[in-house]
């Protein structure tokens, strides 16, 4: 503030201009200082690692010594890698299930709650579906591991209702293990997704709802002509998040099955993790990560294009 007052007196009109300029640069400086901490953090912990990931795939690298340039070696190896082929196939099946389960049950519950007439009941229902969030994800995984075991809860229930013919070690049987992991978490209502959908439904203008009511649109027709189109942007967001998540299933196979039995629950990201963490082949691991990244980005872009149609 002092510069503004004293500079013109000292340096005349030319000084006044530079003082104003100095003032502007001071404001720029303040702005840069405000964003600087964010950029230091994301630069060191996100952008640089992402750069290492993108370039690491073209090297042989044990994670400690300097990487050695390897050209396309790792990608060549990936083409002939049977485990990777299995992991890709598993991942596609899992992703299809996961994406559907991320969107449909949460939307259905949001829509059901939205049409409950009493304010109080709506609030209560929303709370009921948010409360399970206090259960740590890892506990859900460990608990479902118990449910799926030979002497676990699911077989106990099947026995109880006379279906003892279908009991099996759900995650020990290569026929069912992958589906067991993908279908974990019944009834699949995700609090985060449900609330996003609910917000979308709440933001439908009352005139639209009124007009639909006068037209006699109700039930399924209202659902497909009004509600689903009006929350399209929420569908898009959650679809993208689900696609990104479907490429990141590491913890579930790691904790439940270690990828087994055989390779039946290997996902691409779990294979990437194992290649680096258990076998120290960081170069090959990064090559897998890079390919996975490209596929995820491509699928995200594709989903956006299809949405636009």
């Amino acid at each position: 503030m002092t510069t503004r007052a004293t500079a013109p007196v000292l340096a005349g009109s030319e000084g006044a201009l530079s003082a104003r300029q100095r003032d502007r640069w001071n404001r720029y400086l303040a702005a840069y200082l405000m964003v600087l901490p964010t950029f230091l953090f994301i630069g060191y912990f996100l952008y640089y690692p992402a750069y290492r990931a993108l370039t690491g795939g073209f090297t042989h690298w044990d994670g400690f010594n300097a990487p050695i340039w390897a050209g396309w070696d790792n990608f060549q190896r990936a083409i002939d890698d049977d485990i990777l082929q299995t992991a890709i196939k598993n991942n596609l099946i899992w992703a299809a299930i996961e994406i559907l389960l991320a969107v449909i049950p949460s939307f259905a519950v949001a829509a059901l709650i939205f049409h409950v007439s009493s304010d109080r009941a709506r609030y209560l229902y929303r709370s009921f579906f948010v409360i399970p969030i206090i259960l740590p994800t890892i506990v859900t995984i460990l608990l479902w591991r118990y449910f799926y075991q030979t002497s676990g809860l699911i077989n106990y229930i099947l026995d109880g209702v006379g279906l003892d013919g279908v009991t099996r070690p759900w995650i020990g049987d290569p026929q069912t293990a992958l589906y067991a992991l993908a279908l974990m978490g019944f009834p699949w209502v995700n609090a985060f997704n449900m609330l996003i959908f609910y917000a979308g439904l709440q933001n439908i203008p009352t005139e639209v709802i009124e007009a639909a009511r006068l037209d006699g649109a109700a039930g399924w027709r209202r659902l497909f002509t009004i509600e689903i189109p009006m929350v399209a942007s929420q569908f898009k967001l959650l679809l993208i998040l689900a696609i990104i998540n479907s490429g990141q299933n590491i913890v579930t196979p790691l904790v439940m099955t270690r990828g087994g039995p055989g390779y039946s629950t290997y996902t691409v990201s779990y294979y990437m993790y194992e290649t680096a963490v258990d076998y120290g082949e960081f170069g090959y691991s990064m090559a897998i990560a890079l390919m996975l990244f490209i596929v995820i980005i491509a699928m995200t872009a594709l989903s956006q294009l299809l949405n636009r149609e």
Binding site: F45, R52, G63, I196, Q248
Partner: protein, 277 residues
């Protein structure tokens, strides 16, 4: 017809809510049982009350819970402080490269964590000279980085709704940008700041991969401790089943406390409409 469909709606919602709440109920019911009691009837109410399940579990999980609370608590405060500064600059200030810098933050939302997990781990290891890779700091710093994109995005949307005239008037009065941020914008934004904090708590509290790679036993977070506890219970006798269930029940308490007081903010944060494409 309306009446009947309304009833059906309530019925479906109640059944689904009960199913969604079932895992919690299952934990509670079995946390005081003996192994024998559990294997006879896993769905029944407990007939005995083995309080020692809880005292045994408490000894195992209390230190990891403390570690998790420290890591997550410091991380979310760091996230929201840095994000508020950046969101302020992006909303209220004009400066060269503003647009590009914002796009650089926003693009982070599209980088899957799985891509950077391994190099991030190596990157944290490089900070060993600060004693970081094997203590709380080794998690806190990358967590602060990871929370920026989402939080800046939400805060910028909210700040955009604050009257620009108010900010300009303060500038004319000679207030510095830091002063406007601290004395005007932050006080007006307390609810959304709390929302951002609560929304960030959940994924950090649940994170398993990074802590499992980094931390030694002393600094182990809750998720890592629960997985190794389960491993122990299996290699040793399975009589520890009740202890395991009790440990899971205890592990729900911190988020239960957070959500008892702040669920409103979580719900408001997600239903404010800031999140869409």
């Amino acid at each position: 017809m309306n009446r009947a469909s309304g009833l059906a709606r309530h019925l479906i919602l109640i059944v689904l809510a009960l199913l969604a709440l079932f895992p919690l109920a299952f934990l509670f019911m079995n946390s005081t049982k003996t192994e024998l009691e559990y294997s006879k009837d896993p769905l029944g109410l407990p007939t005995s009350f083995n309080w020692h399940n809880f005292t045994d579990a408490y000894d195992v999980v209390i230190r990891p819970i403390f570690n998790s609370v420290v890591v997550v608590g410091v991380s979310v405060l760091g996230i929201v402080s840095l994000a508020a500064m950046s969101a302020y600059a992006f909303t209220f200030m004009r400066f060269p490269l503003r647009r590009l810098l914002f796009v650089m933050v926003f693009a982070l939302l599209l980088i899957p964590g799985v891509l950077t997990l391994i190099p991030l781990y190596l990157q944290i290891k490089r900070l060993d000279f600060m004693g970081l890779s094997n203590s709380w700091g080794g998690l806190i710093l990358p967590y602060i980085a990871g929370g920026q994109a989402f939080s800046i995005f939400v805060l910028r949307t909210f700040f955009g709704g604050i009257s620009k005239d108010l900010v300009d008037a303060a500038r004319v009065d000679g207030a510095s940008e830091w002063h406007i941020l601290g004395k005007i914008v932050v006080p007006l934004s307390i609810p959304v700041l709390v929302s951002v904090i609560v929304i960030n708590v959940v994924p950090l509290w649940n994170d398993y991969l990074l802590p499992s790679l980094l931390l030694s036993e002393k600094y182990r977070t809750l998720t890592v401790a629960l997985v190794s506890l389960q491993g122990n219970a299996q290699t040793h006798s399975s009589s520890q089943f009740g202890t395991l269930m009790a440990a899971y029940v205890i592990s729900c308490i911190p988020l239960a406390i957070v959500f008892t007081f702040l669920m409103r903010y979580y719900v408001q944060g997600l239903t404010s409409g800031a999140l869409k494409l």
